[in-house]
């Protein structure tokens, strides 16, 4: 039976993560960091990854993780969306780690790297463009020959702070996944200020083979599927911040002698947004729960969650800007950071349209 609620343990986890982010990643400091020399807060990441153990939250205990599941990780992502804390959680704990979990974890190369990622000793990233979606063709940007990798991959999330990349490469023996620590990553100027993207170059890099052939394809797809499903929880967190912040603002902003939040023109928009969040939360929890149990319905759950949550996060951020009036257009107010994250997330790991296309196939609604 699908459980769409939050357990007490999950709520406890949420409150400790929320407290930490409120303390160490307050809006003003997140904003200031975006234009600093250190756009990522790696000190905060060490606390998150190593002390709280969130880097290996959904990694089994025998592989050095916390033995929790995507349900708990989804709660952390909600808080990440709410705070926009500048930590490489998506790249390392979600995408790179899920790719490794899709490989043969009995293999030494795989388990050794998983342990280091789960312990927070190293930061990982999955070297595919962030727009890659579950079910897309295996990327052909990197070639491999005799364990040596060459190629360029654009727009990789969190690669600029990564110590190790999980690289999708194609060689004479077909598709394969490699772990590579010899690479250059050049940050691009990204729309999202709080999650950095980098262009990755591999020039004669030597890699450690993690998976090959069908297993490599399946492991990459597992990472992209888990990533897309969990991203829905981040989108939910973004939308929740936007709704909460906007409701608080319209209660205390007076015009025409009344709080602007007393005008039905605004109240009805916020009521509609609340309703969107109710449905977004149900789909995000369903995706997290089916991913945790390995349910057969995972592909539908993930496509549904992305079809639903991506647009709702964007709508929430757009409403936040509009209903804040002039202050919402300023650099000083953090609303723009959420708009930038929401819009980038809409493109990440498959657009809503792409996911609706997948859904149509999965539930037998063939095109005209």
């Amino acid at each position: 039976m699908t459980d769409l609620l939050y357990s007490d343990v999950e709520e406890d986890l949420r409150s400790s993560v929320r407290d930490l982010f409120a303390d160490k990643a307050a809006a003003a400091s997140v904003l200031a960091r975006t234009e600093s020399e250190e756009p990522y807060d790696l000190k905060l990441w060490r606390t998150v990854a190593a002390e709280l153990g969130l880097a290996g939250l959904h990694v089994p205990e025998e592989l050095g993780g916390q033995g929790a599941s995507t349900r708990e990780l989804a709660v952390v992502l909600e808080e990440l969306g709410r705070s926009l804390a500048p930590v490489p959680l998506l790249g390392s704990a979600v995408l790179a780690t899920s790719a490794l979990l899709g490989c043969d974890t009995a293999a030494d190369e795989v388990s050794a790297l998983l342990r280091r990622l789960a312990a927070g000793e190293v930061i990982g990233a999955l070297a595919v463009a962030l727009t890659t979606w579950p079910g897309s063709p295996f990327p052909a940007a990197v070639s491999v020959s005799g364990g040596v990798l060459n190629g360029q991959v654009g727009l990789v999330a969190d690669a600029s702070v990564a110590d190790v990349l999980v690289v999708a490469a194609t060689g004479p023996d077909g598709p394969a996944l490699y772990a590579v620590d010899d690479f250059t990553a050049t940050e691009v100027t990204s729309l999202d200020l709080t999650r950095r993207l980098a262009d990755v170059t591999l020039s004669g890099a030597s890699g450690t083979l993690l998976a090959s052939g069908a297993q490599a394809v399946a492991a990459l797809n597992h990472a992209l599927t888990a990533g897309a499903g969990l991203l829905a929880s981040e989108q939910l967190g973004v939308a929740q911040w936007c709704l909460d912040e906007t409701v608080a603002y319209v209660k205390q902003r007076y015009q025409f002698g009344r709080p602007v939040g007393s005008f039905q023109a605004l109240k009805h928009r916020l009521a509609d947004l609340y309703l969107e969040l109710v449905t977004a939360r149900a789909t995000a929890r369903y995706a997290a729960d089916t991913l945790a149990s390995g349910d057969d319905d995972v592909p539908v759950a993930v496509a549904l969650a992305q079809s639903t949550c991506a647009g709702i996060a964007v709508h929430a951020a757009e409403e936040a800007i509009q209903l804040h009036g002039g202050i919402g257009m300023t650099w000083e107010h953090p609303a723009h950071l959420y708009l930038k994250r929401a819009k980038s997330d809409e493109l990440a790991l498959g657009t809503p349209g792409r996911h609706r296309g997948s859904l149509a196939g999965l539930v037998n609604l063939p095109p005209a």
């Binding site: 769409l4 209660k251 939040g261 609340y274 109710v278 079809s307 609706r356 609604l365």
Partner: protein, 393 residues
């Protein structure tokens, strides 16, 4: 505390003593009520066992499995969902004993005399007068949008008993006998061609004071209880994927490749996703209720349902191709219940327009969500401290 196992055992014993195949339907239902297996969360002696409300589904499933007759809940929805909880909360012991059993068995159908031509969304503005006359009250006024009034034996009725008071005060709530000579029920034909609703004219209807529910002047408080239960009832039943209208439309799509267009495909897939997301939100709401944490999502669900039904029924007419120009039947009829799935797409399209009006308009629901869930301030209330009789109308 009563468990699901206790209830299964009780149903088993009951079925052993009352074979559903040989027992008369009404006798069976009366006995089920007397055994406390009607609505298990009601008190003992009134059809229940003081058991947790969420265990009702266990009992219903056991009876359904045994092929037992049910009380046709859709026909008596207003009695079950609105009149009964109000009688339970505000009725005297005599009233509970007299009314609840035949209400539950369906022997006596109930309707709701709330809305008036001049009091729709602003229900508290209602003006049907109740004037005290010794042991009785004399009622004069007009009610509207009354489903099943033509088959109802009783009604729950809200009246204006003191026009000198501001509108929320000075109201009194009654049980009205629909067979009283002063009650005139006339069909109200709607855009679908049929008359699902009625207008009810009340002229010198004499109601004994013993049929009052709650104190004189406390009618708004009692009515609020009724309306809260209406929204709980609308929370809806658990449904499988594609269990509702979306399943019907999706199957038409699958069966009729000749009707497909790219535009319809785009919209259908969006609505499929919205339907499934809304269904999951309903599941989540029920899980919250079962866990003893009722969430505020309930009021949002009706809003979602109305929007979806309207979008889906509009799409369905277009998907029908040429047949979308047809209509099944404009004959004036007085159905006992709404049959959305048993009619043609044109009917569904028209009937769905009511989904955002009945049981609280979508606009009123948005006010409720924004004020009670989000805590936003209300619009200034210009009528709050004005005597009802002095309100502009």
């Amino acid at each position: 505390m009563t468990t699901a196992e206790d209830l299964r055992a009780k149903v088993g014993e009951f079925l052993a003593a009352h074979d559903p195949k040989t027992t008369d339907r009404l006798e069976f239902l009366r006995a089920r009520f007397d055994a406390g297996l009607a609505w298990v969360h009601y008190p003992e002696g009134l059809g229940g066992l003081n058991a947790p409300r969420e265990l009702q589904s266990v009992v219903d499933a056991e009876f359904a499995k045994a092929g037992a007759p049910d009380n046709n809940p859709r026909r008596i929805g207003i009695g079950l969902g609105m009149a009964a909880p109000t009688i339970l909360a505000f009725g005297t012991e005599e009233q509970k004993k007299r009314y609840l059993r035949p209400l539950w068995t369906g022997e006596e159908v109930w309707c709701q005399l709330f809305s008036e031509p001049g009091a729709g969304s602003d229900l508290a503005a209602l003006g049907t007068r109740a004037v005290r006359d010794g042991d009785h009250w004399v009622i004069d006024g007009q009610k509207v949008w009354t489903s099943v009034a033509h088959i109802a034996r009783f009604a729950i009725l809200v009246t204006r008993s003191d026009p000198e008071q501001p509108k929320h005060r000075g109201m009194t709530y009654f049980i009205c006998d629909m067979t009283d000579p002063g009650v005139d029920v006339r069909p109200l034909r709607q855009l679908t061609g049929e008359a699902e609703f009625n207008e009810v004219f009340l002229s010198g209807v004499r109601i004994p004071d013993a049929n009052r529910l709650g104190a004189v002047g406390e009618g708004w408080k009692v009515a609020t209880t009724t309306l809260m239960n209406e929204r709980v009832a609308i929370g809806g039943n658990a449904m499988p994927r594609e269990g509702g209208l979306i399943g019907m439309v999706a199957n038409t799509w699958r069966d009729r490749p000749d009707l497909r267009t790219p535009d319809l495909h785009e919209r259908l897939v969006r609505l499929w996703a919205e339907s499934e997301a809304t269904r999951l939100a309903g599941t989540r709401l029920r899980q919250q209720l079962a866990a003893g944490h009722p969430g505020p999502e309930g009021s949002a669900m009706k809003l979602a349902f109305a929007r979806l039904q309207q979008a889906l029924t509009g799409l369905e007419v277009e998907l029908a191709g040429q047949d979308g120009l047809r209509y099944d039947d404009w004959t004036m009829r007085r159905p006992e219940k709404v049959d959305m799935l048993g009619r043609e797409p044109g009917y569904r399209y028209l009937r769905a327009k009511g989904n955002s009006i009945e049981g609280g308009t979508s606009e009123v629901l948005r006010n409720i969500i924004s004020e009670r869930v989000l805590g936003l301030p209300s619009e200034p209330r210009v009528d709050k401290d004005v005597a009802w009789k002095d309100l502009p109308r």
